[in-house]
Point group: D2
Chain length 309, copies 4
């Protein structure tokens, strides 16, 4: 298989401080499709164009943040192999039984050096996807309900020891580095974009003193015009917008960032480079980070470096 | 590695009946970057955003068409393994020595059941890519010279026995089927879209009585607005446009097709589904092929099925 | 007043052969807002962003076509002055009393040389426009119901003696010529685009042997991306699409044409030149009419010249 | 004539502190076409799609700002009539002889209550416009040189007594009010958008204690995608960007603002409402000014209210 091992980001389990307002936001403002609620009260969502049961899972908690970020792997044999490789690398792996999350098979959970919980799984049931596998329409009414991203695309996580994350993700999990920012010393990598596909990023990390922090979960839109539409909808719903619409220099994607009602940052974006593992990563110097973050304005928005959940 | 084996389409060697007018077309109308001419008179081009030396190679000949379509693989070990697997499958493989094409390492050449020559290689020198690996600009002046696609993206090839191609590409080369069209019998696959990545297609085949035919080589643009710009430039240069601007139902991409001065069809397109190998392929019935080809018009353009080189 | 006299196209009264299917089409596919039905069974519509009560009025009849095309003028004094000028020019003017159409004041009706009925009126009640005059949102849910044009923009009418129309519209009604096509003789104007504003066209005429024919009523969209969305919606609803998505060379606008269930052609378009009356009109030769009609394809779609209602 | 009196913004004469760097900026970054230099050293520019000789005139001076903003009127009779009306209103009018500016006829100059010099003229020679009046291409190479706006579109001027400007522009010059912002008292208009056409604004004023200030001259682009391209080009050329890309709630247009090398603010924008004089103006309350300025972010950028030249 040309595409094997870890396939893609599968789901993010996000903590929210009020499940009712959060569900309203993710369903009617962000425009995901609600697909279920489990016995523990977690609410499940998928993007309209995703096939699997869910990609965002909300859990009521006292504080916002991310419980874990999970990747779907090729099959059960891959899951077993990766668990073995992770244990060989020294990771503590825990098996979470099938069914602990709705429609989801057994998961391997482990903590990475930055203090985040990452999960792998091989099986998630398909959501009902009427009419989309035979002579499909290019889009449906759900594609215009709220912001309505195509899919949950990646996450940016803040925490310490991200260069150890880099080693783990590249040596064990089969990712490769697509772009990075060096700190003012000109050498140390302080921000990392990693891909397990040809996307510019399937996950990204920024060095930060507090472990296990969520910077944002990101959702893919179809076009720059949809970014503006997302911004309009955020404004209509009084969503606090942090940055954008603008273009990132890093990855070249177009973007707008806001905060959910619990204060978790989210991104809706489009575009971005296609990357391949045979290509050298793109390096950004600390001095050019402003253009890497907000290309037109060449501006380092302070909150982008400091506000996390 | 999550992305391994065959990485991507690498280059297409295309026959043209007048190398001078063809070079003008590919350089100044399509807007590729000319990167060299070899001793046999072949002229090499890359898209402005590609890193490797070349993705289109023109060869003067008496008739138009495609000499071979080549894929870059992960590394030399992959090349050796795939050659072994191909021989095991019964393919006749030929080694083409490094240097036979400019900047290109050793290639494995084999004929597939539809009568096309496919090549694999692991090494191609990088083209000079000034400023693009450190604090890059999102685009350069070359991005506005002619149509200026981002990259050569895929090819659609016409020939017999495409279901044998399907077996070869999925069982040996690690591709997976993303979409297909069934013939009027409702069962036989007559058109196949195959991916070795998360692109909707890295190569596609249509059943056709004549072996080894080129339907089109396709080039990626950034947006639907760039598709219109491509159409404007085609018109300004009296390029015969066959179809578009429009949307394909199949792959959901936006597209416009024209012919180079030798009569080889080319496509410039954007968008399209992201695919994954764990997802069932999308099926199109023969009756819905018109909407699969030209979604707004639901029209089966006759030349699209009959004109090849 | 810098903008005076005739302000803009106000409404088109269109004949449909089945009022039920037509109402469904104009409301749910084209995406106009239904604003009323009068005692004679006519159904009224406005575009979501229009302020006046109605811009499309459907009348059940045995044959499709256009009853009349009406312009709103600056005020009642203008209406009286223009009636006097029209009578001076030799037009037979008829007063249609206020209230004959819903929410519409007295109208002046007259036949123009091409055999079409044109109307002028000064007063039409505003449609309820909640929230749009104080701190408005840039768009509402209605902007995504069906194709949802911003406004009814212009009409193209086919008939004889269009050069007499030209004289009437420029000398009496204050329009000016923005673009025209000359017939193969290189001199006679056979197609005319006329503006009473800075739009590329508020009305257009093409020479045709049959009097009083409707070629199309046109509706304004916001962007090229909305043109594609319109095409998608037409396809989803099995609307016959004639041309597009494409760009007109004439006016430079982007466009897609289809037919309503009764066979009346309609256009949804965006863009186009801004014109001013101090600027010479743009001339198109008969030989270049293909690029004037379909710029990318340089194609003279035969039905565009022959199919009218 | 439906469109008569004042036709459109004609030219802005802008003061720059270094004519060489300013000329480079307006020609190669903003992407205007340089059309001449006069005996006093003023440098003239037009946008690629404009027909008249010039729309921006740069004058070297010790301080940045605007010398005057000029409108083209329908003809000489209109010029004479408006001068008479202006004198009747109490304006001091000065005749500036033909030829004082390149290619420009006699001008009427008068000061408005906000302390700005406004000019009217009826005649300006056409710039060479090769190929654009007969079978034109929709765009030329000049449309991709720098930001390359279609035209100079309007100006926003800051000064005192803007409600007296309102009376002058509506009662004497034939403009009408399209949108306005009320001050915190809920009644006094503090910002005014005025149109002499169907554009959302041909000129705008904001109440400000210092007379005769320039807020920005604005240039029209074709699309939201071109706004992003403008932002990219500004960044590539280290142009200070103040706001954007974003959407204005007021006028609904999409925009990005930057500063020329002398510190004069400029805008490139697209879209916006079509307005008509029979429609009530749109009112914005002081509290909603943030969404009027930056709709997605609902943010009142402080510099937008304070920085002028």
């Amino acid at each position: 298989m040309a595409l094997t091992g870890v396939l893609r980001p599968g789901h993010a389990q996000v903590r929210v401080t009020d499940i009712a307002s959060a569900s309203h936001f993710y369903r009617d403002v962000l425009g995901l499709v609600e697909t279920g609620t489990d016995g523990s009260g977690r609410v499940y969502f998928k993007a309209w164009d995703e096939r699997d049961h869910s990609s965002v899972v909300l859990r009521q908690a006292d504080t916002a943040g991310i419980d874990h970020f999970a990747f779907k792997v090729r099959d059960r044999a891959t899951l077993d192999r990766l668990e073995s490789d992770l244990r060989g690398w020294g990771a503590l792996c825990e098996r979470v039984p099938a069914g602990e999350m709705l429609a989801t098979g057994e998961r391997i959970r482990f903590e990475i050096p930055s203090g985040h919980l990452i999960e792998l799984y091989a099986e998630k049931e398909a959501a009902p996807y009427p009419g989309q596998l035979r002579n499909p329409r290019p889009w449906t009414a759900a594609a215009e309900h709220g912001i309505a991203p195509l899919r949950m695309d990646h996450a940016l996580l803040y925490g310490p020891r991200v260069n150890e994350n880099l080693a783990l993700f590249t040596e064990i999990l089969g990712f490769y580095l697509t772009e990075y920012v060096t700190l003012p010393d000109g050498e140390t990598k302080g921000a990392l974009w990693l891909s397990c596909s040809i996307k510019a990023h399937d996950i990204a990390f920024v060095e930060h003193p507090e472990p296990g922090r969520l910077h944002h979960v990101s959702f893919l839109l179809e076009s720059w015009e949809k970014i503006l539409r997302a911004g309009d909808i955020m404004s209509m719903n009084k969503v606090p917008v942090e940055i954008g619409p603008t273009r990132h220099g890093i990855t070249r994607g177009m973007t707008i960032y806001g905060f959910d009602p619990s204060g978790n940052r989210f991104e809706t974006f489009c575009g971005g480079l296609q990357s391949y593992p045979d290509q050298a990563p793109i390096a950004w110097s600390w001095e050019e980070l402003p253009s890497g973050l907000d290309y037109p304005q060449r501006k380092l928005h302070e909150t982008f470096l400091s506000v996390v959940t």
